[in-house]
């Protein structure tokens, strides 16, 4: 009867299975570089096989893979911002048209938002207007005169007008003080 080496090896492996697995694991732990090389060589040798199995896995688990990818994307805010930025840069005209369409469809809602915003920021606007009225810049006086029908406003007259406004303001204050005294 001839010696069957294959059967002998198989029987030896079955008899010493745990011992062999433990020794292999230890060897793998002690030789990470060799394991890396081995993996690389394996992938190079079995390129097509790996590609096929990967494709088959993706096809079989498409839904689960998509769900995981969506969850990863939802958690990655930087990636979302980057993609939005890229989209805006490449689709400028399309985005412009979409925005215009949105404004057209939601005209009333936008008007209401603007109204609410203006009401909420009234104090800020009023403060700015008050500061401008207080300082009386040339542009303010010029605009007031243009509003009253002036076509050309010489600079000398702006100076005179500013003094007139200041005097009227002072008079108003003085009159107010007099009325207070009377009361």
């Amino acid at each position: 009867m001839a010696f069957d080496e294959k059967a002998y090896r198989k029987a030896y492996y079955e008899a010493n299975k745990e011992k062999i697995i433990a020794r292999m694991a230890e060897w793998k732990r002690n030789n990470p570089d060799k394991m890396k090389e081995h993996g690389k060589a394996y992938r190079a040798r079995n390129k097509e096989r790996i590609a096929d199995s990967s494709k088959a896995y993706h096809e079989a688990n498409r839904d689960a893979i998509n769900v995981k990818a969506r969850l990863r994307y939802a958690a990655d805010i930087d990636r979302q911002r980057g993609r939005s930025k890229q989209y805006r840069a490449t689709n400028k005209e399309k985005r412009k048209a979409t925005c215009a369409n949105y404004r057209q469809r939601n005209r009333e809602a936008i008007a209401m938002w603007d109204k609410n915003y203006n009401a909420a920021n009234k104090c800020r606007h009023s403060a700015r207007a008050r500061e401008r009225t207080e300082k009386l810049p040339d542009s303010l006086i010029r605009n007031r005169l243009i509003g009253k029908g002036w076509k050309v406003v010489p600079q000398q007259l702006i100076e005179v007008k500013r003094l007139q406004i200041l005097i009227k303001r002072e008079l108003k204050t003085a009159k107010g003080n007099t009325n207070e005294k009377r009361n």
Partner: protein, 72 residues
């Protein structure tokens, strides 16, 4: 008040006096109103030249002296 510089100086003087309480309210008020009338007469003259499409040569607005800072 022959020109705009004199008017400006006069108004600056009135403003300073009013602040200091050296002038009565009525006089200051009439001067302020008078200056308004003068400004409006200058406007009428400017509009007249603008309608005639001419370059305005208004003696009242001729000013050789530099403009002082009148902002308070």
């Amino acid at each position: 008040m022959k020109n705009v510089t004199e008017l400006r100086n006069e108004l600056a003087d009135v403003f300073a006096k009013l602040k200091a309480g050296e002038i009565d309210v009525k006089s200051a008020e009439s001067l302020a109103n008078l200056s308004g009338k003068i400004i409006n007469s200058a406007k009428a003259q400017i509009d007249y030249y603008a309608l005639r499409k001419e370059a305005p040569t208004i003696d009242f607005l001729k000013d050789d002296t530099p403009i002082e800072n009148t902002k308070s």
